[in-house]
């Protein structure tokens, strides 16, 4: 009988342990949702800038714009992304007037979230011009 009374405290410790494990396992599920979505957006935005930076090396991007080579520009952007990514690119001059007279896009947007990135492209020609490129990306689900 005295032995049982002595075990009372230990059982409560075990209870407390199980209670804490229960709380821990339930609360551990909470933070798994939101940051991943935010990270995906950041990754898409970063990818857009990386692709435009790569195209802009040696002034290639500004040359395409100055020659109005919109089809070539669309093909270059298309080859840089996987088919699971939708894109829409718009070129503006420094007065924010649209320059491309044809749509530079991979089709209709089907993703729920569209990430929009703007890129400042400086020409390398002696006649200096600045172009603003808006690249919208979305993951095709």
């Amino acid at each position: 009988m005295r032995l049982l009374n002595d075990n009372k405290g230990q059982i409560r410790i075990i209870e407390a342990f199980f209670a804490s494990v229960l709380i821990l396992s339930s609360l551990a599920l909470i933070p798994s949702g939101t940051p991943i979505t935010n990270s995906d957006t950041q990754v898409l935005s970063s990818t857009a800038t990386h692709v435009l930076t790569a195209l802009d090396s040696d002034g290639f991007l500004s040359t395409l714009i100055e020659n109005s080579s919109w089809t070539t520009l669309r093909e270059c952007v298309e080859s840089a992304f996987s088919p699971s990514i939708w894109f829409n690119l718009t070129v503006f001059n420094d007065n924010m007037q649209q320059m491309n007279d044809i749509q530079i896009s991979s089709g209709n947007a089907v993703g729920q979230t569209i990430v929009s990135t703007e890129y400042v492209c400086a020409s390398v020609n002696r006649d200096y011009n600045i172009y603003i490129i808006r690249l919208q990306l979305s993951t095709v689900s």
Partner: protein, 264 residues
Amino acid sequence: MKRKRVRSSNSGQALIVTSLVITMLLLSTAYYVFEIKTDVATGQAADDSTFASIKLSSVNTVISALANVSNGGDNSVLSTDLNELASTIENQSYGENSNLQFTLSNVSPYQNGTWISWESNGTWIPLESNGTAISSACVSFLINFSGPSTTYSSQYETNVTTTLNSNIEYAGNETENNVNLTCTMLNENEPASFSDITVLYQNETDGPWFQVDPSNLQMNYNGNGTYLMSFEAYAQNFLQVSVQAHDLRGIFVVANTTLTGDWT
């Protein structure tokens, strides 16, 4: 005796509360570390790509201005173009508050960020006839970002330099008047190519300049930015050759080489 029993029965509750507090502390610490790691990773990725794109735009602007100045433009073009770029970046702001500041180099031989080793007096006159021509621009930049989660600052220097080295050898006698010209084009000390080239020569001091007809100019590319050229020209004891060229970026250079002596 009664008080003792109450204290004894409460010990389990105290343990539960203690374990709950410890669990909450551990959880909040783990969650905080997780959040910080996520913010650093995504924020850093965004900063790196934005920084790379602004740096590329600034380099392209310097190249454009140097192409303009080396072709006879005013050297205030560099600061004008960079101000326009800085203003555009500030207005677009890449989704964050971005700010680009620049300082033109005035360390000799640079003036207002540019160094051109010849001057224009209707015709191109190299400041030295040592066979080397330099068109260069040097600018220091400072980029500042301040976003909701990160503040980022980066300083870098951009030096765009086109160098042309020319060297001549003359094989002149009664039957042969051959000039062998070796030219090397460099961009930032790396081998580069000509976009176009014009060769002129002068066979007497202060005499007229004769342009070598492109059809009479034999040219071979020897690799590493080096071109071997030859043409025929008559000269007795003085020969000055002027090489005027654009690199693929449109930056212009003029190099003069003089050969004196009695070789007849």
